[in-house]
Each structure stands twice: as structure tokens, then as C-alpha cells.
Subunit: 234 residues, 4 copies
């Protein structure tokens, strides 16, 4: 079991959350997984970011959730992360925050419309809001059921999780993901910017419509498609 | 009379207000009490935070408000603090600020609804706005009457002050509290975030409803209830 | 003619504008006057704050506006400052900025209502918006006429300029003043906070009313009245 | 071919974007041109600002777009820049960002009205929003067509590009320009401030009207006209 590199990535990604002004106090968590070794590394529960050290991170089995290393309790949202990794083999990193603008959208229980190319550069369509969890789903296995409602939302909308790498959990807040923890943090920043601008776009023009599919398509594909021409060849 | 440790805590808590962007100039004050020794330590009136030193703090008798130590006048809001400590034996620290978002809600004379889990993690229900003070209550013993209307609000709503550790004084601003001064500052930050997000939640979706009681209950209890499982065992 | 002390105060007050986030680039100016020596010291026109030095300040005759010292052109708003000092002998310092929230109110051509005690602690009533200048007033002696419309506004509303130490010039931005340049800057910060909060108060509760006169009176008097008890005796 | 001085200016102007809080990540680009030498220098595509070095910049022929120096791909928006320089011989520098407030206006597909003198000091009239691009214009030569729709907007409105040195590309974001790259960045900051304040002006007073033409004229001319008297003679 060799998780030091993964743990370093998870530590850096967690520390990026306060650097990017996405969290106050302990509100947020980043995880990453190593599917070959069946490992998940995640932030411990309730530890302030300015005190977080690599040895505080918790290592679990990705398939059954057993704790394999670490002295602290893992994030209380760990069952949500585990379920999403198990359901979507494309995911390598997941972020949850209570960032101000994305949480305002999540609390409003509305999808985030694609109002511009900033959105289209990262999200291939609106960012969906989940349905609300039922009383029974909240009473028992709440965090697992949060994962289930995210997965249900992606499936019902027939979304590729890497093409729309975020969900707004209604009444709660955003989850974002990617192939790595760093990608998931990057997406969390983009989501925050898009949420801030979408509200103000609607305030400036209450009749505004989402951008046309062909503009959405153009911007998403020029960055992520087969013939992508944004950025540098690597 | 040994109040050095308490004074250090009060100094640190006061200095946290500008660090957390809750105050400009001298707008705000933190106090803490030691019930065994019958002491209250509070910020002096009108002293800028960047000049505040531990010896500037004022020590008073918790039961009768006499000044026991300190050369400066205590905060003009001292009678409000004293009354709240006297009425609610659970309180160990109190914060008052004119922070931007919480003061906007206080000025609007509306309760802060619980629109999400960020709110539910700290406040077990809406944060109440007080009624307005009458002309007579303002003319005479204004600061004491501010304490009385806060206590009246908590009693009429049958609120446990540690379960809903904040009030919005209508036309004025927020008061928060906790078992310690540090807890009260923490709550003041949470309140500011929740106030910011609640307004924007309503702007995004004017038909939004508060979260269901069972979600409120779940989040509050997982952090503060008997079977709390958030954070680390201490 | 000894203006070094006054110039130091004017320099510091000007440098406070970017420190308090009230200006970008060169948008703003502070002046102060010495009535005994018949002197006005003011920022030069169009000089960025991070390059501003004491010797760049311009010294003028308060009574006739002649330049007495300084190699640079004075602020283009100098005639506005001069007129206000000449009309209101109480004034010792004046600030003009294009700060974001106060300018938004000035552009909206509405008075700033007194929605809370933060406002009442500094402004003894609403902060008035001027009428718009006529085409003739703008075409000729525009900056002087800006001073005249400010004075007209104060007189028509029968305002004591030290009790309501600010005006919103419609379609333009805020002017604030005080007994010193430092006081005028302090008021500019308070105005910015009050403008930010007043808009959000209205968004939270579109039916909100200004605070009652007796609460306005109480807060203003406890800080500025004969029996003021806020702060420390000096 | 001597482009070191121009490249230094382009590097500095690009680094100003994050300093002025106009960009996150790689969202934005600045170019400048040297018409005598037929050169364009522009930011490479997708390179983070904190890693950007002068040798990363890409040098192209202004007349035909061939790459003359640089190992990296130029900004994907290069065809937009090239077209604008070719069409408007007054331009020496161009900036594109996704800055929050200007992008919110661009997404709303509305012109930015001139609500105050802050606007009039830089923009001699409303900042126009383009029409939306058609499906065909997006499918093929999208970035070139973005330049064409900007030019079309300026021509249809009979605007002098140095008198109104910005456009809001509907559903996308702002472009600004000037005689140099530094001027274009300056205008991008002004646009961001004006966009922030225009929205809030409308929220404070939904019936607000743009400032009168004679006030617009006065402020624009006192800074940019033949008899300009703002600032220092140089």
C-alpha cells in the first residue's frame, strides 16, 4: 500500500480550498482515489485547514470503506464520496464545499443555466440541482443517500460525469469532481464564478435565455473535444 | 480576582473580528464572563482594534455591573451584555458587530430563514429578529432594554439560547453568543455567511422555502446532538 | 505660510482612500483647509496614489483660489472644494470618491434612507441626493456649480453640514466632509458601508421603512450630543 | 525584427490582469501590436499567469497571422485580436477577460448604459453589446467571426473605437482596447467598475435613466477633448 503521492495531492487540493476562498473554517473536503490499489484518501472531519497535515488524512478501502490508515475520523461526508467513486469509474477526485455563490444556488433548488462561454468551457450543459431527499433518506444513511441522489440525478439526465462535473445538492451545497483532486478543485472554482455571474446575469436581464446549444458545443469542444485547440499540446 | 486568562481570551476574540472581516473601525465588541468569580471582561468603548491591548479591557462585576479594573470606559453596549449573562446562565461569551450581511438582515426586520445545511449546522431553526423597541424603551436605559428585547424574543419563541445562538436586533445589528468568547465569534462568522447566502438564495428563487424540519434536525444533531458524529472525539 | 502639518494630514488622508478600498486609479481627492492662514491643500489632478508624495500637493488661497505653492495642477474638483469651504465655515476637510456603493446610490439619484443604527451613529437623517445640474450649469463652471448644488441641497433641507456630513451628487458620486481631512475620510468609509447595507436591506425586505426618529436621535446623540457617552473622554 | 520592448509591455499588461482581479486561472489575454514592423505580440493559450514569462509570448505577423517567434500556441482568441487590429488602425493594445461584472453584463446581452460620470470619464456613450453569432458563424472560423461581429457593432453604431473603447460580446465577455496594452488594461478595470455599479444603480432605482448627453459630453471632453483640463500636462 503506497499512498504517499496520493496523500500529497489530497493535502494540496484541500489547502487550495481556503486559498481560492471557497471555504471558511472546516467547511469542505477533498478526496482522491487510487483504483488499482483500492484506496481512498480523504480529509479528516472537523480539522481546520491551517492545521491540516498530511498524516491527518484518512486512508480507506475504496470498495468497502474500511479505514486502512490514519488516527482521525474521516470526513462525515465520506459515504457520499465512496458511493460516487463506486458508481462512476471515471472519477479520481471529489470536492465538497459550502462556497458562497454555489451554495446560494444549491439552496435555491434550481439548476444553474449555461449563460455564457465561461460556463461552456467547463460544463457541457446546465449544472443540475438534485431533488430533495425524503425524510426516510435523511433519517438513515443520510450521507450515503446524498451520494445516491447525486448519482440518480446524473443518470436521469443522462449526463457523462466528466462532461458535467458538478451537482448542486438542493438545500445543501455543491459537489464537483474530475480525474484528479486538482481537477475537482479547479472545477469548484469555475462553478463558484459561474454561479456568481448567473445570478447577476438574471438580475441585469430577467428575460435572459441560456446560450444556444451550438455555442455551448463550440466552447466545450474547443477545450475538451477530439479536435480541441485551446491550450498547449502536452 | 484572577482574570488574566479570561482577558487574553477576550482580547483574542476581539482581534478576531477584524481578522474575519466582521468590523470596520470600532464597530463591535466581545465580552466573556467567569461566573464563579462573578466577573465580566469586555472591550472598552470606541478603541480601534489595531490599538487594543489587554490592559485596555474593562473588568466588571457580573451581578451588579460595577467596574472592578480598567482605566477606560467599557463598551456602551455593556448593559446589553450584562443583562443577557444574568438571564441566561448558559452563556460564557457574547459578540456584537455591525457586519455587513447580518446588519442588512437586522435592518430589514426579518427573521433569517434556514435555507440550507450551512445554517442547520449551527442554528437549530430560523435566527429571530426582535420587535422594534418603543420610544420609551429607547429614551431611557436603551442598552439595557436592548438586552431585554433579546431575552423576550428568545423566551416568546421558546428558544434554547445555545441551540439558536444569535438574534438580529431590528434596525440595529446582530448579537451572537456561546459557551466562550471564541464560540461566539465563530457563530458571528457563520451568521454572516448564512445571511449573505440567504439573500442570494431568495434572489435566485423568490419562491424558495426553508429546508424541512427533518433536514434541519439531522444536520444540527449530527454536529451537536447526543450521537453527534461530526469532527473528532476530544 | 506654514502648511507642512496640514499637508502631512492631507497626504495621509489621500493615502487612506486606497487603503480603505474607496478608490481605484486616481478616482478621488482629499483636501483640508487652514482658515487662519487662508490656505487650502489638495491632491494634484490625475496622480496615482502609489506615486503621491507630499510635495505633489497643491496649496491655494482659500478665499480666492490662487495657487500659492506646488508645481502640479490641483484636482479638477478644486472649485467644488473651495466653494464648500467658503459657504460652510464648519468644514476643515473634504473627500470626494467614486467608491462603488456610494456611487451606485448617487447614480440612482435617490436619498440614502437611515435604515439602522450604523447610519444613525454618523448621519443625523437621510443622506440627501442633489438635484441634477442643468445643461447651463454643466456647460460653464461645472465644478463650481457642483459645489453650489451641494450647498443648495443642504440649505433647502435645512441641514447642519456636520450633522449630515455627506451628499450624493446625482449621476456622479459622494462628497463627505468633517472638521478635519481624517474625519472626512472616516465618514466616506461609513457612507460606503451604509450604502452597501441599505441596498441589501431593501432587497431583503422591499417594504422596509427607515428607523424611527427617536432611534435615530438616540444613536446620533449618544455619540455626538452634549451628553454623549460613546467612546473615551479625551 | 525587434519586439523586446513590446513583449515587455505585453507581459506587464497580462500580469496586471490578476493583480487587478480581472481573471482567475488562464481566463484572459492581452496583446499589443507594432504597425511599423507588422508585429503582434500575444499571450500563449492556457498558460497560468503566475508561470507566464516573456519568452512564452507569441509573435505573429499582424497582416497575415503567421507565427514569427515563440514555441507555444498563441491564445485561441488570436484571430479576434488580429481582425480588430486590421480593421481599426487606431488600436495598439487589446484585452479580453471573463471578469465577473462585465461578463455578467455580456451574458445578459444588454448594452451598458452610462449612469454616471465614472462611465463618462472613459466611455463616450453606452458600451454596446453585440448581436449573437449565428450557428454558421460559430461552427466555422468562430474566433474570426467574433472579431467581425465586434467590428460590425462599432460600425453600425457609428462609434469611434477610441471614444468607446470596449464591447460586450453577448453570451461571452468583454473586449477592451486602447492605443497601448496598458491603456486597454486600464479600460478593462474601468469597465468592470462601471458594470458593477450599473447593476446596483438599477437595483436601487429601477426607473433610473442614463445621464444626460451634456453631462456625458462634459466629463468625456474634460478628460479627452481638445481643451481637456483633467490631469497634468505631459
Amino acid at each position: 500500500m503506497d499512498y504517499q503521492k496520493l496523500a500529497r495531492e489530497v493535502l494540496e487540493a484541500n489547502l487550495d480550498l481556503p486559498r481560492m476562498n471557497l471555504v471558511v473554517f472546516t467547511w469542505g473536503n477533498v478526496s482522491a482515489c487510487d483504483r488499482e490499489q483500492d484506496l481512498l484518501v480523504i480529509k479528516p472531519s472537523g480539522v481546520p485547514y491551517d492545521q491540516l497535515k498530511q498524516e491527518d488524512l484518512v486512508v480507506l478501502s475504496l470498495s468497502d470503506g474500511r479505514i486502512l490508515a490514519g488516527k482521525l475520523n474521516p470526513s462525515s461526508d465520506t459515504p457520499t464520496h465512496l458511493y460516487l467513486y463506486q458508481q462512476f469509474p471515471q472519477l479520481g477526485g471529489i470536492v465538497h464545499t459550502h462556497s458562497r455563490w454555489a451554495t446560494s444556488w444549491a439552496q435555491s433548488c434550481r439548476d444553474l443555466p449555461a449563460y455564457g462561454t465561461t460556463h461552456a468551457d467547463t460544463f457541457y450543459g446546465p449544472v443540475p440541482a438534485t431533488r430533495k431527499l425524503s425524510q426516510a433518506e435523511i433519517a438513515d444513511a443520510y450521507e450515503l443517500n446524498t451520494g445516491k441522489v447525486i448519482a440518480e440525478t446524473l443518470r436521469e439526465r443522462r449526463l457523462d460525469p466528466l462532461a458535467v462535473p458538478a451537482v448542486l445538492v438542493s438545500g445543501h451545497g455543491p459537489f464537483t469532481w474530475g480525474k484528479t483532486a486538482a481537477e475537482a478543485v479547479h472545477t469548484a472554482v469555475v462553478l463558484e464564478e459561474c454561479c456568481m455571474m448567473a445570478l447577476h446575469t438574471e438580475l441585469i436581464n430577467p428575460q435572459v435565455q441560456p446560450i444556444e446549444d451550438y455555442l455551448l458545443d463550440k466552447h466545450y469542444q474547443r477545450k475538451h473535444g477530439k479536435s480541441a485547440y485551446y491550450g498547449q499540446k502536452t
